[in-house]
C-alpha cells in the first residue's frame, strides 16, 4: 500500500483549478468610514461661505501673487545652492584629520541647528545694529551694512547658512555610508585623499544624499514663508499685503496655500523620479511607479493556464 494516494476527486483536470481570492470585509468597512469622513469634510469646505471661494479664484492668478511665487522659487533655489555647496565643505571638514577644523565645523552646525531660523533671520536683518560698517578686516574697505543687508540678502544669508548646517549632516551621512574598503582601495592605488573624495566617495554617497536633499528642498520652499517677517515680498507676504487692504484674510491664505501645495507637489514628483534614477544599480528591480501600480490594481486576473502565464 502506497502512502501517497490518488486524490479522491478526479473530476477536475489539473489545468482547470481556479483561485478564489480571500474576502477582506475589514478593508471595506474602514474604506467606507474614511470616504464618509472625507465627504463630510469636503461638504463643509464647499458650503462654508467664509472660505470665500470667489475671492480665491479672483486672486489665484493676481500679478503680485505670481510675482511672489517667483521670489519664493528664487529664494528656494539660491538658498539650497548655498546650503548644498557649504554643506559639502562642512561635511568634509567634520571628518578631517585636523581636530581644529573638525571642531570648527561642529561648532558651526551646532550654532545654526541650535537656534531658531526665525531668530537667525531677524539677526541678519538687524545686522546693521551690530556692525554699522562692514570691513571684513580689510583696511580701506568700508561697506555700509544698511545698504548691503537688504531684506533679500538677509533672507538668503539666514536661510542659506542655516540650510548648510542641515545639509552637512546629510552629506556626512552619505560619506559615511560608503564602505571603508573603497577609500582603502583608492589609497592602495596611490590616489590621494582629495581625489578619492571627489572621484570615489562622493559619487557613491549621492545615492544616500539625494533623497533627503529632495526632502529638504520641499522643506525650504515652505520655510521661505518665514522671510515674510522681514518684508521680502514672497508668496505669503504678497498675500498678506493684499489682505491687509481688503480684509479677505482667509481667502488669501487659501490662495497662498494652494500655490504652496501645487509647487511642492511638482517637486515631490520630481523627487520621486530622481530617487528612482539613483536607485538604479543598487536594486535588482525598481519598485513600480504609481501609474504601474494603478494598472496592476485594475488588471483582471484570469485563471492560470497550464503554462503558468497570466492571460
Amino acid at each position: 500500500m502506497s502512502v501517497l494516494t490518488e486524490p479522491r476527486e478526479t473530476a477536475v483536470a489539473p489545468d482547470d483549478y481556479t483561485i478564489v481570492k480571500a474576502k477582506h470585509p475589514g478593508r471595506w468597512i474602514s474604506a467606507a468610514v474614511i470616504v464618509f469622513v472625507a465627504i463630510l469634510l469636503l461638504r463643509s469646505v464647499m458650503t462654508n461661505p467664509n472660505f470665500g471661494w470667489g475671492t480665491v479664484g479672483m486672486y489665484l492668478r493676481d500679478v503680485s501673487i505670481v510675482r511672489g511665487i517667483g521670489i519664493t522659487l528664487e529664494l528656494t533655489v539660491i538658498c539650497m545652492a548655498i546650503g548644498i555647496v557649504l554643506g559639502v565643505v562642512l561635511a568634509v571638514m567634520r571628518i578631517a584629520a585636523n581636530p581644529v577644523v573638525r571642531t570648527a565645523a561642529f561648532a558651526y552646525v551646532n550654532f545654526f541647528r541650535g537656534t531658531p531660523v526665525l531668530v537667525q533671520l531677524l539677526f541678519w536683518y538687524n545686522l546693521a545694529a551690530l556692525y554699522p560698517s562692514i570691513s571684513f578686516g580689510i583696511p580701506g574697505l568700508d561697506l555700509d551694512a544698511n545698504r548691503i543687508i537688504t531684506p533679500m540678502t538677509a533672507a538668503i544669508l539666514g536661510l542659506g547658512l542655516n540650510q548648510a548646517a542641515y545639509m552637512s549632516e546629510i552629506v556626512r551621512a552619505g560619506i559615511l555610508s560608503v564602505e571603508h574598503g573603497q577609500s582603502e582601495a583608492a589609497g592602495a592605488l596611490g590616489i590621494n585623499r582629495l581625489q578619492t573624495m571627489r572621484r570615489i566617495i562622493l559619487p557613491q554617497a549621492m545615492r544616500v544624499i539625494i533623497p533627503p536633499t529632495g526632502n529638504e528642498t520641499i522643506g525650504m520652499l515652505k520655510t521661505t514663508a518665514l522671510v515674510s517677517v522681514i518684508s521680502v515680498p514672497e508668496l505669503l507676504y504678497s498675500s498678506q499685503i493684499i489682505y491687509a487692504r481688503n480684509f479677505e484674510t482667509i481667502p488669501l491664505l487659501m490662495v497662498a496655500s494652494i500655490w504652496y501645495i501645487v509647487v511642492t507637489s511638482i517637486l515631490s514628483i520630481g523627487q520621486y523620479y530622481l530617487e528612482r534614477h539613483y536607485a538604479k544599480g543598487g536594486q535588482r528591480s525598481l519598485p513600480p511607479t504609481p501609474w504601474q501600480q494603478l494598472k496592476r490594481i485594475v488588471r483582471v486576473h484570469a485563471p492560470l493556464t497550464s503554462k503558468g502565464a497570466i492571460k
Binding site: 564602505e179 574598503g181 573603497q182 582603502e184 582601495a185 583608492a186 589609497g187 592602495a188 592605488l189 596611490g190 590616489i191 590621494n192 585623499r193 581625489q195 572621484r199 570615489i200 559619487p203 557613491q204 544599480g281
Partner: protein, 259 residues
C-alpha cells in the same frame, strides 16, 4: 651565494610591532622577500598575517620597527636614528609600486570595469586616457575578461570581480603585488579561475606576497611559506617542507585542521 646576498630584498620587515590599543597584533616580525619571489603567509585567523600585509603598503602604521620596500623605508624618511613621518601624498607616491588585492575586491561600483582600471593611472600617473586604456584592455584580455570592459562590477561574478581587481592593481605597473585572502569571499567553484590568474602572474616573475588559506596554491606556486601564529613568525621555508613536513607543533596543529 654571495651574488644572491648582495641583491637588496624587495621587502624587508625589520622587527615590526603593531598594537590595536592594548591588543598586540604583531610582536616583532622579521621577514624578507626577494625580487621575483612568491611568499605565502598562512596561519590561523587573528595571527596577524593580514595586518603584516597591510603594513607593507602602510595601510597600517607601525608602532615599532621598519618596513623596507625596494630599498626605502615605507611611510617614513630615515634621518640618522629618527624616522620622520611622510605626508599622505608622499605615501601615496610610494604605493604606486605596490599593488594590492583585497578579500572583498573593493572595485569602484559606480565605474565600469575599464574605468576602474584607468582611474588611478590617469589620476596618479597622469597618463592620457588612450595610453591607459590600451594597457587596461591588454590586462583585461590577460585575465580572460576582454569582453567585460564596459560591464559594471555588480554585473560580474565574484571570481570575475576579483580578476578585474587584479588587473586594476597591475595597471599601475607595480613591482610588488600583495594579496589579502583573495579567494576567501568566493564561491568554491570560482576560486580556481582567480588562482589561475595569480599562478600566471607568478610565472611572469612578479614579486608576490599572498595571505591565503589555499594550501594547494601555496604548495604549488609559493617559493616560500611563512606560518604565523599569535603575532610571531613560527616557521618558514620552502612550501613543500613547511606544508609537507612541519617542524613546529603549532604548524602541525594548524595544518591538520585545514588540510
Amino acid at each position: 651565494m654571495s651574488a644572491v646576498a648582495a641583491i637588496e630584498p624587495m621587502i624587508k620587515a625589520d622587527a615590526i610591532r603593531k598594537n590595536y590599543g592594548r591588543l598586540e597584533v604583531l610582536k616583532g616580525i622579521d621577514l624578507q622577500v626577494q625580487q621575483g619571489e612568491v611568499v605565502c603567509l598562512i596561519g590561523p585567523s587573528g595571527s596577524g598575517k593580514s595586518t603584516l600585509l597591510r603594513c607593507i603598503n602602510h595601510l597600517e602604521t607601525l608602532d615599532a620597527g621598519r618596513m623596507w620596500v625596494d630599498g626605502a623605508v615605507m611611510g617614513y624618511d630615515l634621518k640618522g636614528s629618527k624616522l620622520h613621518e611622510q605626508s599622505h601624498a608622499r605615501i601615496c607616491r610610494s604605493r604606486v609600486e605596490i599593488g594590492m588585492v583585497f578579500q572583498h575586491f573593493n572595485l569602484f561600483p559606480h565605474m565600469t570595469v575599464l574605468e576602474n582600471l584607468i582611474e588611478a593611472p590617469r589620476l596618479v600617473l597622469r597618463e592620457k586616457r588612450s595610453v591607459a586604456t590600451q594597457r587596461a584592455l591588454k590586462l583585461l584580455e590577460s585575465v580572460g575578461l576582454g569582453d567585460k570592459a564596459k560591464a559594471y562590477p555588480r554585473q560580474l561574478s565574484g571570481g570575475q570581480q576579483q580578476r578585474v581587481a587584479i588587473a586594476r592593481a597591475l595597471c599601475m605597473k607595480p613591482k610588488v603585488m600583495l594579496f589579502d585572502e583573495p579567494t576567501s569571499a568566493l564561491d568554491p567553484e570560482l576560486v580556481g579561475e582567480v588562482l589561475k590568474v595569480m599562478k600566471d602572474l607568478a610565472a611572469t616573475g612578479m614579486t608576490m606576497v599572498v595571505v591565503t588559506h589555499e594550501m594547494n596554491f601555496a604548495r604549488d606556486v609559493a617559493d616560500r611559506v611563512v606560518f604565523m601564529d599569535d603575532g610571531h613568525v613560527v616557521e618558514q621555508g620552502p612550501a613543500a617542507e613547511v606544508i609537507g613536513n612541519p617542524q613546529h607543533e603549532r604548524t602541525r596543529a594548524f595544518l591538520a585542521s585545514v588540510l
